[in-house]
C-alpha cells in the first residue's frame, strides 16, 4: 500500500475507468501509476481491465459528420424580404404609426379615385347617349362585358 493510494481505491479507479492512465482522474493519476508500478495485485487488476478495454476498442470509430449533415445542422437564414419589410416598417415608425397612415391614404385614394372615375364615366355616358339617339340605337350607356355579350347574342338571334 502506498501512502497516497490504497489497493481499494486503485481497484475502484481501474474498475470504473479501465487500464489506461489517460482516463484516470487527473488528481489521482500520478499516485495510481506509482501504485501500479509497485504493487503486484495492481498488475492483476490492470490485466483484467485491459482485456475489456481491448474489447471496447474493437468497435469501429463512427465516420465523421458528412457535409450534408453539417449543412442540415445549420439554422435557416433569415430571409431578405422579411428584414426589408421590417426596415420599411421601422422607417414608417412601426405599426402604431404606419397603420393609421395607411388607412388615411386608402380613404383619400378611394375618394379621389371615385370622384375622378365618376366624372369621366358620366361624361362618357352622355356622349354615348347622344350618339345612340342620333343613330337610333337603344343602347343608353357604356355596356359592360356581360352586357356586350348579351347584346351580341341578341343580335345574332334570328
Amino acid at each position: 500500500m502506498s501512502a497516497l493510494m490504497s489497493l481499494e481505491r486503485f481497484a475502484v479507479i481501474v474498475d470504473a475507468y479501465g487500464a489506461d492512465p489517460r482516463r484516470w482522474p487527473a488528481a489521482e493519476r500520478d499516485a495510481a501509476q506509482a501504485f501500479a508500478a509497485a504493487d503486484a495485485q495492481a498488475a492483476v487488476l490492470l490485466a483484467e481491465a485491459l482485456a475489456l478495454d481491448a474489447g471496447l476498442d474493437a468497435l469501429p470509430i463512427p465516420e465523421p459528420a458528412s457535409a450534408a449533415l453539417r449543412r442540415a445542422a445549420m439554422p435557416l437564414p433569415v430571409t431578405a424580404r422579411s428584414s426589408r419589410w421590417q426596415e420599411l416598417l421601422a422607417l414608417l415608425g412601426g405599426w402604431r404609426l404606419a397603420l393609421p397612415a395607411m388607412a388615411v391614404s386608402l380613404i383619400v385614394g378611394i375618394n379621389v379615385g371615385s370622384r375622378a372615375n365618376l366624372g369621366s364615366w358620366t361624361a362618357d355616358a352622355a356622349t354615348r347617349t347622344e350618339t345612340a339617339s342620333a343613330s337610333g340605337s337603344n343602347t343608353l350607356a357604356a355596356p359592360g362585358f356581360a352586357e356586350s355579350l348579351m347584346l351580341d347574342l341578341e343580335s345574332s338571334t334570328p
Binding site: V12, I13, D15, A16, Y17, G18, R22, R23, P25, A26, E48, A49, A51, L52, D53, A54, G55, L56, D57, A58, L59, P60, I61, P62, E63, P64, A65, L69, R70, A72, A73, M74, P75, P77, V78
Partner: protein, 220 residues
Amino acid sequence: MANYAIGFAVCTEWPEGRSTVQSAPMMALLSPPAFDDADLADVVLAGAGDRLAFARIVGRNIDALIRFAERMLGSRAEAEDVVQDVFLRAWKQTANWRSGEARFSTWLHRVAMSRCIDRVRGRRETSLDDMSLLVSSDPPPDHGLHQQSVAQRVQLALAGLAERQRAAVILCHYEEMTNIEAAATLEISVDALESLLARGRRALRAALLPERQALIGDLT
C-alpha cells in the same frame, strides 16, 4: 458563482425561443467562466444572430456528437436526426446561454444524451426484446470478418447496458471526457459516475466473457 443566474445544472429543459432575454450575450460576457470554454465567444455572437459563429460551434462539436449518438443508438440515420435536433435546439439556446456552470459542448452532449435515451425508450415500447435494432447492420468494409463479429458482439453488449451506464462508458472510454465533464453531462456527482461506470464495465465484462480469449489473442 451564485449570481450566474439560471444554473446549467438545474435546467434540463430550456425555454424555447431566442428573444426572451435580450441582454443574455452581455451577461455571458460579464460572467467569467470557471473554466475554458472554446465555444463561449461564438455562443455570444450566435446569440446575437451571427450564423457564421454558429457554424464554428457546429464545426467544433458535430463529430463528437455524431460519434456519441451513433454509439448510443447503433444507427447512423437516427444519430443524424438526433444531431440535427441538438443543433436546432442549440441555435435557440445561444441567446439565453449563461456561462459559468458548464461548457457549451457539455450541454450539447447532455441534450444529445437525452434525445438518444428518448429514442431507445421509444424503441423498447415498440419491441421489448429486439436488441438487434441497436446493432448497426453496416460494419465498415476495412474490418476482417472476425473483427466484424467481435465488433458486433461488443455493440450488442453495449446495447444491453442501461442507458445511463452506456452513456457513461461512451463518454469516458470513447470520447475520453474527464470524469468531471462526464459527471456534468450526466448531471451526477463524480462518485455516482464511478459507480455507473463500474457497473457498466462489469456487465460488459460478463457479456463479453466468451470473446475474451479472442480479443486478447487479436490485440496482444
